[in-house]
């Protein structure tokens, strides 16, 4: 009888299968499909999120790198400027010191010259006086004050010529 076509079996098979299909589809397949769809969406959103955050990280990194580069350049500029200024200052200081030194040297030289001149003048005067006095003593003090003055002036003049 399995080999004979039966209309009743045919019809009831379709109906039974449709009932079975309905129950399985409604209460077993639908939740499964929903879960699979959820997972697919979850994975997709995770992937897009990951891609987005990776792009963000890359742009941030580039930005940071640029900032670092800028900072480094600026630091180098500052350092260079400082070095130039320091060099200038050092040169100025040196210059000023040299000037000061030469000025002091000059002053001292002038002072020495002046003192020597003074000392020479004093010595000359003294020698003139002494030589006049000596001459007067030799001539037995017969010299009038007038003549004495004249002789001193003469001696000073001659000594000055002699010295200079």
């Amino acid at each position: 009888m399995g080999g004979v076509f039966q209309v009743g079996t045919f019809i009831f098979s379709i109906i039974s299968f449709l009932i079975v299909f309905f129950f399985i589809q409604r209460f077993a397949f639908k939740p499964l499909a929903k879960m699979l769809d959820q997972r697919r969406q979850h994975v997709e959103s995770q992937i897009t999120e990951a891609e987005k955050s990776r792009e963000e990280a890359a742009s941030l990194l580039a930005e940071q790198r640029q900032l670092l580069e800028e900072a480094r350049k600026e630091a180098k500029n500052l350092l260079d400027a400082a070095r130039v200024r320091a060099d200038e200052q050092a040169r100025e200081i040196l210059l000023k010191a040299e000037e000061e030194a030469s000025r002091i040297l000059e002053e001292n030289r002038q002072a020495i010259v002046r003192e020597r001149d003074e000392a020479l003048a004093a010595v000359t005067q003294r020698v003139a006086e002494l030589s006049v006095e000596l001459t007067a003593k030799l001539l037995h003090s017969h010299v009038s004050p007038e003549l004495h003055r004249e002789m001193v002036a003469e001696a000073e003049k001659r000594l000055g010529e002699l010295v200079c």
Binding site: G3, F5, T9, F12, S13, I24
Partner: protein
């Protein structure tokens, strides 16, 4: 010739109760397995039975994607493909796993069977069998698929009409042969496997004690299991193919 309990015997509505009962049993088995497997469904960490079910769903999805023209038609056929795949797999295996037979006095009239019917099977009535080893049931599934495919085709009536004569009028013949071969292939494979298994099981032992047919039975059982699995796949993929051929909304883009 095995006989089955029958409803409406003698009328045109004669119905094989074993087939209907095993259809529901198959459905129940699938339903329970799916519900148990998905009871603690976890989107992030699938485990155990859920993996197996997800694999089956993915298998059905790939099968539908390979045969259907558009994603829309894939979504239409996917529930049916998934259920059909599991249903036929379980149904084809039912008759291999066990068979239940009750023996009656062949002179009685029970469960809608006349004494002459019972005499033909020596009083044995089969209570458990693969539903797909019944020709009416296999053809019923095939015709159902055929009706679904045409119902889907009729959503685009002009293209539906045209596909009968273009590219060739042989398509009309195919409309008859396709559902017939679709159903008969399933029925023939499953019925043949079980019929031979039954014959070997009933064969007498040699010298009353040597079970000479045991290795043959084991071999044939493996082969029938293989065939049962393959036929479930073949029927389902052909179903997708037939419905896909009549899903005309995708053909417009080709």
């Amino acid at each position: 010739m095995p006989v089955f309990p029958t409803l409406f015997a003698g009328t045109i509505w004669q119905t094989n109760v074993t087939v209907i009962a095993t259809i529901f049993l198959t459905g129940l088995i699938i339903f329970v397995v799916l519900r148990v497997g998905l009871a603690r469904m976890d989107m992030r960490r699938p485990r155990g039975l859920q993996n197996l079910i997800e694999w089956a769903a993915e298998f059905a999805t790939n099968m539908a994607r390979e045969t259907m023209p558009t994603e829309q038609s894939v979504n239409f056929i996917l529930p049916l493909a998934f259920v059909m795949l599991l249903f036929l797999f379980v149904a084809n295996w039912l008759g291999l796993i066990m068979s239940i037979t009750v023996h009656f006095n062949p002179h009685m009239s029970v469960w809608g069977l006349s004494p002459s019917d019972l005499a033909g099977s020596k009083g044995d009535i089969e209570l458990f069998d693969s539903p797909t080893s019944n020709m009416s049931m296999a053809l019923a599934l095939a015709i159902m698929v055929w009706v679904i495919s045409h119902a889907r085709g009729l959503r685009h009536p002009k293209q539906w009409l045209r596909h009968f004569y273009s590219p060739s009028p042989l398509a009309v013949i195919e409309e008859i042969t396709n559902p017939l071969t679709h159903g008969m292939r399933l029925y023939g494979n499953i019925f043949a496997g079980e019929a031979l298994l039954g014959i070997m099981l009933r064969a007498p032992f040699a010298l009353h004690w040597i079970p000479w047919q045991l290795p043959l039975i084991v071999l044939w059982l493996f082969y029938s299991g293989f065939v049962a699995t393959i036929q479930a796949y073949v029927f389902s993929i052909l179903m997708c193919l037939y419905v896909g051929n009549k899903s005309f909304e995708g053909h417009a883009h080709h």
